[in-house]
Subunit: 101 residues, 2 copies
DNA sequence: GAGCTGGTTCGACGAAAGTCGAACAACGGT
DNA sequence: ACCGTTGTTCGACTTTCGTCGAACCAGCTC
């Protein structure tokens, strides 16, 4: 299993944004932002296994997440510090639900 | 001509991100971030008139730009202050070209 | 009015993206 | 060895998106 997780600076910004520009993936990112690691199966957002796997792959290849393999499970976590360093404010802006005043 | 420019808080974040997740549109936004208003025709990024018009529409309907009609021309500007208020850091993060160290 | 100019709208087309079920692979436990 | 659990991969299908040329519309100018 090739887990290729790109260097963040090699990922074009548009790819990053595209990865975030999906409802399911944004939900995943929001969940990941809460805490540390989550097993893939944690994310039940009304999509099939196959689709969930697909979205996690997109996130990983966009440089947003890192995946650790442990036995039969995979644990995913957000590459928050790297992201904050390269794109300060991006994650915070995206994760903050705008105040509906 | 209905210039419908949505309230920024009514635009889902994903729509905003999707609007930014395109090379041509990001170039436009970068250009707009430089200064004030630009006529639509200013943007020559290797796409046809029709395509340019399409992209400007996407940006407008995502709440990213405002358009002023003046005679036969339209002047576009970035809704920067609103964006910064609702999503602080987002534009800066996106506009900043990451240092390739 | 005729003609030009700046933009939009309308199909149409190909490429890409999201979704699913089914098949598969790998590991763990009994 | 078998089975259940976890997750990936493989078509296939549908929808969306970017792109273009052509037609169109609205002002401006002569």
């Amino acid at each position: 299993m090739e887990l290729h997780e790109p260097e963040l600076r090699d990922v074009p910004v548009t790819a990053l944004l595209a990865a975030l520009a999906d409802d399911v993936r944004l939900q995943i990112v929001r969940a990941l932002a809460e805490g540390g690691e989550y097993a893939c199966g944690t994310f039940e957002f009304g999509v099939s296994k196959a689709t969930r796997s697909h979205h996690l792959k997109v996130l990983r290849e966009a440089g947003l997440t890192r995946t650790r393999v442990a036995g039969t499970s995979r644990y995913v976590r957000l590459r928050r510090d790297e992201l904050d360093r390269l794109y300060p404010g991006l994650l915070d802006a995206v994760l903050t639900v705008p105040t509906r005043s």
